[in-house]
Each structure stands twice: as structure tokens, then as C-alpha cells.
Symmetry: C2
Subunit: 398 residues, 2 copies
């Protein structure tokens, strides 16, 4: 019988609780030994889920330090407010505990260096749990890129294009950290969807690296307009000024010469998309119409392209990624279309085997640093800022 993995969860807001219920408690090897949140009611609700699912009562605590001092803890999952992600991860690594870190952006370049140094000092792995790296389309397209279907890749794009107005506007009631971030900061605050998958397509930190970026934000009007129509009773909130621009566009240059356009669009009415685009010398993909255009195949339809919208499905059979082929055979588990299961299963497997994590500290630092760097660029009127080489040259040989 395989050994179970003792796991604690810190941060039990909407994301943490739903992961607990739908992913962690469903994993045959995970034993939840502690649940922690600054709000006691959240701990209680989480512990009830654990017991209801048939596991023993876990430790309930509002003090994460108590969690990190538990004996026999194999891994901690950090699903807290963005502000605490990196510092808590470092503390856990220093306590010798594997860290699974939910996504978000960094607040300074320094904290990205800090976690890199913590890893290099302790050798305790940390994994950024970027579920979109396990998206079905993302993995299939990565497979196509690796097989050369699009030729040499020269430009990609992606974004977090998700209408979060009601979540943010209800941030007081829901105790959600996004509200204070949107009130006071202006940046690409959620870069890792879709930068994670794009970084894999472009071999970032493995033969390529992010060199510099420019970032610009539109004015901030979406939340104000929403609150005036939906929360007009709250007189204080009605006059709130949001620092966060509605649409933030960040353009990144890579060492090999590729450009990446990242878009954050979370406070305007829109459909959900991660806006993935791949442009190479032999073809392109655009998520907005889920179509693949290949040189020499689709040439006759330059001006009649709408008839090929959705043609990604035609390529499924040939290019489905092995990870998803196996997953489909075994039965896709719930959670963001199955991505959550895959990313957490990979993490748990690394913990169990005491192996490195597939998304490592250098990826984490590089991807998360984009928030701090875009904040800097926006504040400087779109001035280009350098993206540090967190590998200190190791990207050349990895």
C-alpha cells in the first residue's frame, strides 16, 4: 500500500474550501491533518468537510505557525491572501515542509529573490499550483508546438479575462483580498494564468528567459459603474476610487526574441477567456475562435476564416497531450475542467516521492515577479523594466 501524505491547508476562503472538498479529500493519498485560516469560522467549516468525508478531525487553528510546527507534516497548501503567499512559503520551506502555493502575483522583486534563496538554502521544493499549465487545450497546443506544427514560435499572447466585478464589489462581505488590492494597486495582478502555459511553450528558464516588460493600464471605470448600479445603498463604497485600471496590457520580450502580450481584464462585462494566441512561422492558434490556421493547409481561407472557427477539435485525436489522454481514460475529476486535479496530483506525487516539483521555485519567482514589475512600469508611464534572471544563468543549461 502506498504511504499517505500528511497535508495541512492554510487559507480557507472560497478557493481553499472548494479545493479541500473537490480535490484534496478526493485524493486517495492525502490525509488532511490541519486546517488553518485567520477566521475561525472558516476553519470550522473546513474541519467539518474533512470529518464528513471520513477522515479524523484535523487540527483547527487560526495560527499558521502552529501548523508549521506540527510533527510529521509532509506538505502545506497555501491558499491565503496573495500578500502572505511568499513569506509563508518561505517559513514552511525553512521548517522542511514541501509547499504547494496557490497562484497570485508578487508585491516586490525582493520577495521573489527571497523565496529563490530559501530554496537554495533549504533545498525544500515549492510548487506554484498553476492549474492552467494543465488545461486540456494548453497541453494539446504545447504538444503541437513541441512537434513543430506551428514552426518557430515568434509571438504569443494570453490573459486573465474574467469578469470579477461581483466578487470584488462584495469583497467586504466575503472578506476577499481582491477588494483591497483593486482599491490601492494598479498592475498585472494575476499574471500566471496565462503566463505559465506560455512560459512552457517558450522554454522559459529552460533555454530561454523573460528579459524585460512594459505595462500600461487603462482608466478604472468598470467597478465604479457596477457599484453605482448594484450596491448603491452602500454610501461609503459608492464613492470608492479604484486604483486598478480595468485593462492592463503587458508586453514582455524574451531572450530568444519572442514577444508575449499579457492582458488582465477583470472589471468589465465579458465572457471568460484566457486569450491564448500562438504565432509561429508555420501557423497560428487563437482561443477567441478556437481555431488553428496552418500554412499550406488553410491558405485558401484567408478571407473566409469564420467557417473554420472551432476547428481545434479536428486536431484532438492527433495531438491530445499524453497527460490528458490518460486522464480522459481514467475519468476526469472535477475542478476547473479537471485542471485542479492534475496540478495537485502532480504536487502530491512529488511530495510522496520526495522529488523536485514540475513547476519549481525559479518558475514561481519569474512568473510572480511580473506583478511587481508591471506595477513599476505602469507607475513610470510604461517605462521598460528589466526582469531579473532568478536562475543566475542556470537557464542556459537547464
Amino acid at each position: 500500500m502506498e504511504m499517505t501524505v500528511n497535508v495541512a491547508v492554510i487559507g480557507l476562503g472560497a478557493r481553499g474550501l472548494s479545493l479541500l472538498e473537490m480535490v484534496f479529500m478526493e485524493h486517495p493519498l492525502v490525509k488532511i491533518v490541519a486546517v488553518c485560516d485567520v477566521y475561525g469560522d472558516r476553519c470550522k467549516a473546513a474541519a467539518e468537510v474533512v470529518v464528513k468525508k471520513g477522515q479524523p478531525q484535523p487540527l483547527e487553528t487560526t495560527d499558521y505557525k502552529e501548523v508549521l510546527s506540527l510533527p510529521n507534516l509532509d506538505a502545506v497548501l497555501i491558499c491565503t491572501s496573495w500578500e502572505d503567499h511568499i513569506s509563508m512559503a518561505i517559513e514552511a520551506m525553512e521548517a522542511g515542509i514541501y509547499v504547494g502555493l496557490e497562484v497570485g502575483g508578487a508585491y516586490s522583486v525582493q520577495e521573489c529573490w527571497d523565496i529563490v534563496r530559501a530554496y537554495e538554502r533549504t533545498k525544500v521544493p515549492v510548487m506554484l499550483l498553476e492549474n492552467c499549465c494543465y488545461g486540456r487545450n494548453e497541453l494539446m497546443l504545447l504538444n503541437m508546438v513541441e512537434q513543430g506544427v506551428f514552426g518557430e514560435i515568434v509571438h504569443v499572447a494570453g490573459g486573465y479575462l474574467h469578469d470579477l466585478r461581483s466578487e470584488i464589489a462584495c469583497g467586504q462581505e466575503n472578506r476577499h483580498y481582491r477588494l483591497r488590492n483593486y482599491l490601492h494597486r494598479n498592475c498585472e495582478n494575476y499574471p500566471t494564468h496565462e503566463l505559465g502555459p506560455l512560459a512552457r511553450i517558450l522554454d522559459i528558464n529552460r533555454g530561454n528567459r523573460l528579459i524585460s516588460l512594459t505595462s500600461q493600464a487603462s482608466k478604472s471605470k468598470g467597478l465604479q459603474d457596477y457599484i453605482r448600479r448594484h450596491k448603491a445603498n452602500d454610501k461609503n463604497f459608492l464613492n470608492a476610487d479604484f486604483a486598478q485600471g480595468d485593462v492592463v496590457t503587458t508586453v514582455i520580450k524574451c531572450a530568444r526574441g519572442e514577444t508575449i502580450v499579457l492582458t488582465l481584464d477583470t472589471t468589465l462585462p465579458r465572457y471568460y477567456s484566457r486569450g491564448l494566441q500562438i504565432h509561429g512561422t508555420r501557423g497560428m492558434y487563437n482561443e477567441e475562435n478556437q481555431s488553428i490556421f496552418l500554412d499550406g493547409v488553410n491558405d485558401q481561407d484567408h478571407f473566409t476564416w469564420s467557417k473554420h472557427w472551432g476547428n481545434i477539435e479536428k486536431y484532438r485525436k492527433q495531438y491530445e497531450h499524453p497527460i490528458w489522454k490518460q486522464y480522459l481514460e481514467e475519468g476526469v475529476k472535477q475542478g476547473h475542467g479537471g485542471m485542479d486535479w492534475l496540478v495537485y496530483a502532480d504536487f502530491i506525487q512529488a511530495v510522496q516521492n520526495k522529488m523536485p516539483t514540475p513547476i519549481d521555485v525559479y518558475d514561481l519567482a519569474t512568473w510572480m515577479s511580473i506583478s511587481a514589475l508591471s506595477e513599476e512600469s505602469i507607475a513610470l508611464g510604461g517605462h521598460p523594466v528589466a526582469i531579473p534572471d532568478f536562475t543566475n544563468g542556470k537557464w542556459l543549461g537547464r
Copy 2:
């Protein structure tokens, strides 16, 4: 009977000749009195078209100065290489001749100032013949913006997304100016599709203005790859290095706080698109799937958007622009889906009535300056550059 307008055409490459045949010779008020190109064979071919269509033999000349010294010339249409656009336009304006200028970008900010000053000195109107300002979808969406359907506009995007590899790679045989530009320059070389329509949506130079931009270019691989496969016999050309990056991304900030993302994507395999996006506080449009998402109307389909692809057609009846309503009733003329006819008809009407042109010298200077400014920003690693106020403050009151 309405007076005819005496028109000369300078520049008779593919664009000039096809416009002559399909638009100018079809216009009931246009009399072509001269055709001019540096290549005599092009003049001859153009003159044959004029005669074949039943008009008298026009002057054929390779010297544009001869054209500008003609008596009774009402207007000149400049369809030459980009490099000559502005200087020739200025000479024509100084000769008192209305100028219709085909699209392209400027090579320096100074030449944009020069044409503004030429207009202010001579009061002779010039019109940038930006046909995309007359696109059916562009005008319908402008109509929707003006009626407030999308709420307050905060972000827009557009581009010139057109695979021109074969045109550029055959530039020697076809004597096409794009070839030398792509070999030696790296910039947003064709900004006015879709900046023209976007500028109208955002009231640029009429209550709003473009403030600054950053521009970044990807590496240049598309033409090289194409030439290796399609022109491998030409040993010199095979090793040509193209300065022009395959994809250029330019982000513009406006005085009222909107952002504009402009994309140039002309040397990779792809379908044609102008990539129009409109994002407001009440809704959005995306040309890639030709769909309109409206707040309070489409909310239930955030995650199932593909079923609404192409829904722009549902809005035709209600929001078709009056210009197009009339045009459809009268019968759409050929030429880029009818846009060419409309833009030239507007120009000819202005000439005939000795009125100002609907796209004027300030629009021309502002839109065309983006090429020179993006070249500067790219050369400076994406550094933000200021966009001059060519109106010197008149945008506040226009």
C-alpha cells in the same frame, strides 16, 4: 448637371491601378486628366484603362511635378510608395490642389508637422483615404458606441493582421516598396488600419487625444522561413536579414485614460483580420469571433460563449450605420467590400463642394506619426515616447 472633378493619379502600382479601374473610373463625377508613375509602363497601362472606360487619353508622365503644374486640376490622388506620401502631398497643397492620400505611416514626426503647417499656411485640404473608417462593421460599432451600448469605453484594440509574405518576397519583381521597408526598418509600419476607426470611437482630436505609446517587436523569422521554402533559387535574397519584426505590439495611452493596443502581424501565416476589440463598462466586441457581449444580456454565458460567436449579425437591423444603410439600398460598389468606394466618394464630394475633408490633416498627422514613434520606441527597447499634439490644443474645442 453636376460639375465633374478633374483628378490626377500619382502612383500606379497594384493599389493605384486597381483603384483607378474599380473606383475612380466608376465615379460619375471623376475625370482622370493625368496618370503618373516613376515607371512608364505603369503609366501606359493606366492610360489604357482610362481610354478603355471611355474617357479621353490622359496625360502620361513619370514626373509628378508635371502633374502638379497642370491647369484646372481639382484633386490629386497619391498612391505612391510610402516614402513619398507626405512630401508630395505638401507640394500639391502648395500648388492649391486638394490631396487624397493613400494610407501608410510617416518616417519622422517632423514630416507630420510639415504637412500640418502646410495646411495651416495654404488652407488646402488633404484627406487620408483610410478606407477602414468606412468598413461596415467599424461604422456599425461606432454607431453602437455613440448610442452608449457598450457604456463608457475604456480599452480598444485593432491591427493590420494580413499575411503579406508573398507580396514582400516578390518585391523585387513587383517593384514593391514594402520589400525595402521590411529589410531596413522595424516599426508599426501600417498603423491607420485599425487606428483610424479606433480614433473615431475614442473621439481622438475631437475631445480626446493620443498621449504616449510603447512599442515592441518580436524577432523576424516569417519572411526568412518563407523565402527558404519558396524562393530558394535566389541565392542573394535567401540570406537577406529583415529588420522588421514579425509581430509589433504598440500600446497607446489617451488623454481621457483609454488604452489602445495596435498589432502589426504581416509576415506570418494567418487569416485576415483587423482584430477590432471594444471594451466598455457595459459590454464588449471582439472581431476574432464577431461577437457582442452585453452586460445584463449575456451574463449567463460567461463560460459558454462559443454559442454566440457571430452574433453581430443579430444587431445589424438595429444598429447598421446610416451611411451603410443608404449604401446598401443604392448598391454596394466593389473594392475591399465597398469601403474604397465610400472613402473616395466622400473625398470627391469634399473636392466638388470645396469643403473640408472628413479625415483631415490633424487626423492624418496623428495617425501616421505612430510609425515614426513606434520605430523610436522599439529602438529604445520599448521606452515610452510622447505623441505630439498636432492640433496645438485645438482638440479641446473641436
